[in-house]
Symmetry: C2
Subunit: 345 residues, 2 copies
């Protein structure tokens, strides 16, 4: 399998190295060979080429079986002519990655580290489907001395494809979809609600569907997160709500994500950022990147057993308390990665 | 003082009645006379006139010393040609209410009812300044069979005036402003950040200013809410974040808001919604509406002592455990209002 790795900025290279180590171990065990081709993105790409997404990076990603990304961005590039984030948004668009999946399970051994009460977060098991190539992220922007605008736009087709992906996933889970919008204010949200309602009625009547407004959802996710199974929402609301709930499990450093298109390779990345304050110090939690590698095996390469073996190893290591500083542990990035490799073996 | 009351929908009339009772008591005690003129808004106005904001309502509000609003909306008007929310958005725009203030203090006696751990929420004391008449709420909307758009727009002047209001308030508090945007994606956010940075440097250098991205702010507000003093943000982000933190104090039913313009009357409303499921049953918590009346006395009518007397009475009643069902108590809306009136006396 030909894997493109995009270490990016900040702690990105460290967590990607840990994930590569885990993939090599799984490959040895199950008899697969992963070849890693490294490319530039984000601030690192700006420094080297002036372009946050060099054309070779895009070409390599499109030709790969899957892309593993670390993180992009950092204050170093603030105010520069190009922004590292352009690289991330550009590769999402170029690869047609319209569905961003963010699963969240609160581990019973870590529930006590949550800012929320244990009885509220214990047993949370949900997945966010965030639309990733539309909305205000990619609409036209204008700027004059006195005024700025951003256009939020959605087509029926853009809403349909991510909606189908969310409903299909719900069929294999607890069978409930919560669609989040701001239909009392936004026209795009009213279209969103119409399309989701129609796809539900026509194609997935056996799934339970509810609609929620983004503001009240921001409350409910803290008061009763266990009530949710699949959460479906547009790009910006998904960005905010999935970061909000990322604290439920004790550390954002634990969480993976998968970004998928209709065919072709997916992109897999931890949801934490580049964390420039701890970069290069062997302090970052590699679990988010390692679980992203597991999602790549499952959703990108169809290797379910291999994915599960990584997830089981991570669970065992967390249960044993072999964790990094963000979880109150003493392990560095490399040692935490090595502990997971040992557990797989 | 000539006060317009807009009871609106759902539990609105019940909580507004409680707030009027409190205002009458304060008036008797301090020697003010409040005359209440009641007008239609929202679903109630649609039912009576077909228009969620009848022209007489707007005229009366503009001619008043202050407006007290209950809540608007409910499933009854879903899918109708006019939406109750149009009334609320319309009156905000017509009165030029560009700054929505949402103070949040977590009462030590109620901290245990928060979904967050006591040690995280105890002592939280912050205020959100949400821009209220710009952004995606009021930009042009389009809709075809296949496509919908919403335009998010901000001018320099719109950002300046709410920014000044937030900085002025910070001077009387702990002297810190956190401005929230999505400057790595949105052009309006980049303008927002520029203007806030300039107003800070030119007019309020003694205040501490930090910028945060809306997604990471959604996390920080749960992990370390005590770190914030004044939070300044645009309309939609303010809607989401202020609802998110509304659960911190144990019940959204406790929270008031003030919406202010540059001159002219303000509008004061609890931040809870119309709660149609419990409407008409004497179950709603009147505290949010009563504290909104206190904000009207302070910010609208310049009656600081009178406002403080209401706030002290509410604190005493909460400490005594005389609370409604949302806080685990046995009191109805009327009895909870009466308890606060007794405490003022
Ligand atoms: C870095 C930024 C552009 C990005 C986004 O907003 O999509 C990030 O927050 C994310 O969620 O992946
Ligand atoms: C009812 C709705 C239009 C309104 C808003 O989004 O502004 C409400 O959520 C609020 O926060 O006052």
């Amino acid at each position: 399998f030909n894997i493109v790795v995009l270490p990016g900025d900040g702690v990105g290279p460290e967590v990607i190295a840990a994930a590569q180590g885990v993939l090599n171990t799984v490959g040895d065990f199950y008899g697969h060979r992963f070849t890693f081709e490294e490319h530039l993105i984000g601030g690192a790409a700006i420094d080297a080429t002036g372009d946050p997404l060099p054309p070779e990076t895009t070409a390599a990603c499109l030709a790969s079986h899957g892309v593993l990304l670390g993180a992009v961005g950092g204050p170093k590039w603030d105010g520069g002519p190009r922004r590292p984030e352009e690289g991330l948004l550009g590769i999402r668009k170029a690869m047609g990655l319209f569905a961003n999946l963010r699963p969240l399970q609160v581990s019973p051994v870590l529930a006590h580290r949550s800012p929320l009460k244990k009885e509220i977060v214990e047993g949370v098991d949900l997945i966010v489907f965030r639309e990733l190539t539309g909305g205000v992220y990619f609409g036209e922007k204008t700027r004059t001395a006195d005024r700025a605008t951003d256009l939020c736009e959605y087509t029926v087709g853009e809403i349909e494809r991510v909606t189908r992906a969310a409903f299909r996933t719900a069929l294999n889970r607890r069978g409930k979809v919560t669609s989040v919008d701001k239909a009392n204010v936004m026209e795009t949200s009213r279209l969103w609600r119409e399309v989701v309602t129609r796809i539900h009625a026509e194609e997935f009547p056996q799934v339970q569907l509810e609609h929620a407004l983004v503001d009240s959802m921001a409350m409910h996710l803290i008061r009763r997160p266990r009530d949710y199974d699949v959460i479906l929402t547009e790009n910006m609301f998904g960005d905010i709500l999935s970061d909000e709930i990322s604290v439920l499990g004790g550390s954002i450093g634990l969480l993976p994500s998968a970004s998928l298109g209709s065919s072709g390779p997916g992109l897999f990345e931890p949801i934490h950022g580049s964390a420039p304050d701890i970069a290069g110090q062997d302090l970052a939690n590699p679990v988010g990147a390692i679980l992203s590698a597991a999602l790549m095996l499952r959703h990108g390469l169809g290797l379910e057993d291999e994915a599960s073996s990584i997830e089981a190893a991570v669970a065992a290591v967390l249960a044993a308390g072999a964790v990094t500083a963000d979880l109150g542990g003493a392990l560095g990035t490399r040692a935490a990665g090595a502990a997971i490799i040992d557990a797989i073996r």
